[in-house]
């Protein structure tokens, strides 16, 4: 996020943001401030004019006319206020809702690298923390812009009354020269300026103190939030009970809380001077203004009513200014961290800008090749993949095995264009995949990730990944994944929501069932290339076996990549590629690889040892086993 944009540029960005999200917000807000803010001026104005009329002994009819006019305006103002207040409330809600919607939609469509980037996430964390501490976009509009508009209105009235003061003509007297000279204005401005300057001083100092306080508090808040979340996750209750750890956690929570509160209190006391002094000085200035303006009244150049109006309006201006300045610190802060939204909404959804459409083939004749591909993750110095050369033949079923962290999943991420290779290129039918239109390219891939995710909507929507559900096809997909019976037994069938996160009539499913639904989702997509990353890790042996049996139905004549660390799954692959530390170290089928004294054999034997007769006999002879007898 650019730190070097000027404040005005950032503010323009915010105004653009508000306009994008809800064009009517700021105009309505201005009207609202106007209608709310005008009441004190109206009251004071009426009082002043009435006093003038009384002083001049006006006729009762005139006085009554003034009263009626005042009452009529008051009533009209009241009604208008409520109408605009309603509009303002509606817009405020719309602003918040649409901002959330636009942000979420953007996040979902962003290039994966941008989505994952630390910078973006750090900016989001800042925005979120800021929003909970000072306020979000809506708060900026309701406080920051409110105060700004308010001050503009107050300034208008103040200038108007200053003009009146200057026009007051004083009859001959001791101080006539004072009032009739420009020095009078200067003195009044000086009395006005003092609290205004102090307000600015107060804001600056308060801002510094606030930043210090926030820094101290944030760490404590994060701490407290952690313990809070820990306690609310009831599953942790198993841990705290069985390991007698509730005392430790409660004490830590309380400690974090107390520390945070001490920091807050000290911070606030630090800011006390900056807040209280300007307000106090405003009161003193009002006193001073009464004296100055009252003097002019004493000297005969001003009606009593005008004294009240003048002091009243100037007081309003000082208060509005102080209010604005007080809010300015928060507002500047908000403008800064809300840049996250400006930047996010202005981001393009794809950087590689590929535009080629993918040729539609009914024969699923898609060949993928890796040409000397090396890859480093964006925030890392280590190479995750080194010089990968791999050609996937059409319709081939490829198994990829290797230890945890050897680069298997990274390969898949590159293939899915979630990341771009640092060196080398990946081609589809001999064309660099980066050149294809991203959406079209990704529609070629049906993927079940190791850490796949389902969403708390209905099973139908999850399988179809859309609100448009082709029920017949969904049932077919569920059948391939061997979960038809379970879904048929559910109260709402396909419309049953998964988990109770969103809907109370949702049901909880086991890890294995979720995996089957993820498999169904991949099948539903009907993509020519299937990628399955540990698709049976959470399944029990019987379910796993049944998936393997259906593998043919799942994959058909498509090109398939199958990643697993359960060696049992490699038996039915035509080709196995072994990864180790980011490189391909072996490539062949099961028989040929078992003949080599390499990683594959090592991995296979490590798992097989529990199931093979030879090994058991051997261990028995060495007496390493406990009493368990041998399988005959």
């Amino acid at each position: 996020m650019d730190q070097d944009k000027s404040f005005w540029a950032k503010l323009r960005g915010i105004v653009w943001l508000i306009h994008q999200v809800d064009a009517g917000m700021l105009p309505v807000q201005f009207c609202y401030v106007l209608l709310i803010g005008i009441l004190p001026y109206l009251n004071t104005g009426f009082l002043g004019v009435l006093l003038i009329m009384l002083q001049r002994r006006a006729r009762p009819a005139q006085i009554v006319a003034l009263l009626l006019a005042f009452l009529a305006v008051r009533l009209g103002l009241t009604v208008l206020q409520r109408v605009v207040e309603k509009l303002q409330a509606d817009h405020h809600q719309l602003l918040g809702q649409r901002l959330e919607a636009l942000t979420a939609e953007k996040l979902v469509r962003l290039d994966y690298q941008d989505f994952e980037s630390k910078d973006l996430r750090a900016a989001y964390d800042t925005a979120r923390r800021g929003a909970s501490f000072s306020g979000d976009l809506g708060a900026l509009v309701q406080s920051g812009f409110y105060q700004a508009f308010n001050m503009l209105i107050a300034a208008g009235f103040a200038i108007g009354i200053l003009v009146t003061l200057l026009r007051g003509h004083v009859a001959e007297s001791k101080f006539a020269w004072l009032f009739n000279s420009p020095w009078y204005l200067v003195v009044i401005l000086a009395v006005l300026a003092l609290p205004l300057l102090l307000s600015v001083w107060g804001m600056r100092r308060g801002s510094v103190k606030q930043r210090e306080m926030i820094q101290k508090i944030v760490a404590h808040n994060v701490s407290w939030q952690y313990y809070n979340d820990f306690a609310e996750n009831f599953k942790n209750g198993e841990l705290t009970r069985l390991y007698d750890a509730d005392g430790m956690m409660s004490r830590a929570e309380e400690k974090a809380l107390d520390a945070g509160n001490q920091a807050t209190w000290h911070g606030m006391m630090g800011m006390f001077g900056a807040t209280a002094v300007p307000s106090a000085v405003i009161q003193l200035a009002v006193g001073g203004l009464f004296v100055l303006v009252g003097l002019q009244a004493y000297a005969g150049g001003l009606a009593i009513g005008t004294v009240l109006i003048a002091v009243g309006y100037l007081q309003q201006f000082m208060l509005a200014f102080d209010g604005f300045i007080g809010e300015l610190g928060y507002a500047v802060n908000e403008v800064n961290y809300l840049q996250y939204y400006v930047t996010l909404l202005k981001m393009p959804t794809s950087h590689t800008g590929g535009t080629l459409p993918v040729e539609k083939r009914t024969d699923n004749d898609f060949a993928i090749a890796f040409h000397d591909v090396s890859f480093k993750y964006p925030d890392s110095d280590e190479w995750a993949l080194h010089h990968i050369n791999l050609t996937l033949h059409i319709g081939e079923r490829l198994a990829i095995v290797g230890k945890n962290g050897s680069g298997k999943t990274t390969l898949v991420k590159l293939l899915c264009r979630l990341f771009t290779p640092t060196e080398g290129e990946i081609t589809l039918n001999d064309i660099d995949i980066q050149k294809y239109d991203l959406a079209e390219y990704q529609s070629l891939l049906g993927v079940v990730f190791q850490d796949f995710r389902l969403f708390a909507y209905s099973i139908g929507e999850n399988v179809a990944a859309s609100t448009h559900v082709d029920a017949a096809r969904v049932w077919q997909a569920l059948d391939v994944a061997d979960i038809t019976a379970r879904v048929k037994a559910m109260p709402k069938g396909l419309a049953t929501p998964i988990t109770k996160s969103l809907f109370d009539d949702g049901i909880d499913i086991s890890g294995g069932e979720a995996q089957k639904i993820a498999i169904a989702r991949a099948w539903y997509k009907d993509a020519p290339i299937m990628i399955l990353d540990e698709p049976t890790a959470a399944l029990d042996p019987i379910s796993e076996y049944e998936i393997y049996q259906r593998f043919d139905a799942l994959v058909g004549d498509k090109t398939a990549i199958y990643i697993s660390h359960r060696m049992s799954s490699t038996r039915f692959s035509q080709r196995i590629v072994v990864f180790d530390q980011g490189q391909i170290v072996q490539d062949g089928d099961h028989e040929s690889l078992m003949k080599q004294a390499g990683l594959y054999r090592q991995l296979f034997n490590a798992q097989a040892q529990y199931y093979t007769d030879d090994k058991i006999k051997e261990e028995r002879q060495q007496g390493l086993q406990s009493a368990a007898p041998v399988v005959q």
């Binding site: 009082l47 009604v79 009161q283 929507e461």
Partner: protein, 614 residues
Amino acid sequence: MAKKKPQYSLVNNLRWYFRQVQRYFPGLKWDILGTVVVTALTGVIGVIVPAWLVGLLASRAHFSYFVEVALGMAVALAAAGAASTFLKFYADAWGSNLRAKLAVALHQLTYQMPYQQLQTPHVQEQFHQSFSNALSWTLAGAEAIFRSTKGLLADGVTLLIFTATLSAFTPWLFVLVLVAAVIGYWGLQSYRQWYETNKANWATQRRQTSYLGRTAYALENGKDMRLYHIGDWYQSHYEALLQARMHWQRADSTRTAVAELIGDVAGFVRDGAAYTMLVLAAAAQTLSIAQFTLLFGVTNQFVALTNGLLMDWHQLQKASLDLQELRAFTDHQTPAPTQPLAAADASQLAKRPVTIQFEHVSYLYPEAENPTLRDVSFTLAGGERLALVGVNGAGKSTLSKLMMGLLDPTSGTIRINGIDAATLPPQTRYALFAPVFQESTLIAADVAQNVAMTAEPDARRVQAALKQADLTQTVADLKQGVHTQLTRNLHDDGADLSGGQAQKLMLARALHKDAPVLILDEPTAALDAIAESAVYQMYATLTTGKTSLFISHRLASTRFCDQIIFLADGRIAEQGTHEELLNAHGRYAEMYAIQSKYYQKEVKQDGSGQVVLG
């Protein structure tokens, strides 16, 4: 719909709240008193002094006197303002703090109450409501009650003073003020009833938009979102949600506007009557302009004070409503009882190794339809290794929780060393078991604290446990060794352990506890083949001398065990040693055959190239 009377009345809640104030931060009482005094004083000076000055101007009193009054007012108001700021800071800081202390107390209660209760859906719901309504933010019940009481008293006293002042001039203005307030209140009340009845409607949308927002941002969702073009799906949902939300918003804001207008019009009549009386009196010169200015200023304050008062009263009532769940939860959920064991039982329990018996145990989860376990009976003899296998959802984890005492049987008895486990105090029961759960839970604390589960661990004991779990080298390689912070939740330089390392740490934790019964629940699910095999090698040595329960669906592990129980549909389907079960050719044998098939030297294939069970 008939309005339910809340269980805890406003007065009851106020009494409860001020007991908490007295307990944690008694200073808050004085803050309220101070605020009332300062607010009233500021209000009074604010209307008296301008009137006074107007009087002085009109009577052409000595200018120096005028100056004294003006500056005196200024100083008084400046001091009052500073006092007000201080009181507000104090209230914000400590009022918020009090709310947080109540949250800590709530958490403590959930740590100490019977675990079974926490599994009950309606108790969980009550907890979440308690937190959400009473404790979650600045205007939640437990802080709003303080703010609104303070505001109510401050505005109320000031309004009373002003009304009295104006009534000195026109006695029955007092009536007008009261009537306008009542009408305003009635207008708001009818709105509030509509709000209470309908707010659930947009709570649903809130829940969904919140969910969509969170999931869009969550890193782990990113891949699937892109590969399955979730963007369009999101857009459809958001559009629908937005429309629904705005519909309710407009309904809400219109009703609010109408409700408030009713109060406004009543207020206008009040003010109009007052202004008219004052103006006519001033014109007829029965009021001096000083008196007029005073009374006019007072009248101006009515709108703000009355609205403020109504708002405070409304918020106070809302705060009281928002406290209902918290009060109910804290009153009904109590810490588990802890009567100590009789001496005879205690010495029986101390016998090692520990024997556990299940006698016709059944279990039904709270608010569930079907029992998870049915009539389960077995004996886990002292020092024996028992394997518990079965398909997902068969009830394995439930059985282990029953054994540990996290859950109580719906029917049947569990005996530990012959003693009925239901008579054991929870902590005594828990002390017997050292579980390694399926999911690794690392706490944001250092390695030693994670192993020992205490803030002050015994270094040697920790090292011994790490050694047994084969973690000595891994920990030594960390930047601060055993004092390295784990996870990045609280420390940016915290270490993240891999799945395998975390699982070993869980094992170290269990070993550190050195309890007589070790329970291992799928401890190798996240490990690759080589690491997994290393754990199995360890298992044999680690369980010597202890009673242990091993839960898994990977049958490779069960061969180390002395006895195997195969659970299906909540019942024990098969039971015996590995050989006995294989010879029985039942479901265990079938499952074993399936898993081991792929590791045999030869794989039978039919013509289609598929692997077939031979």
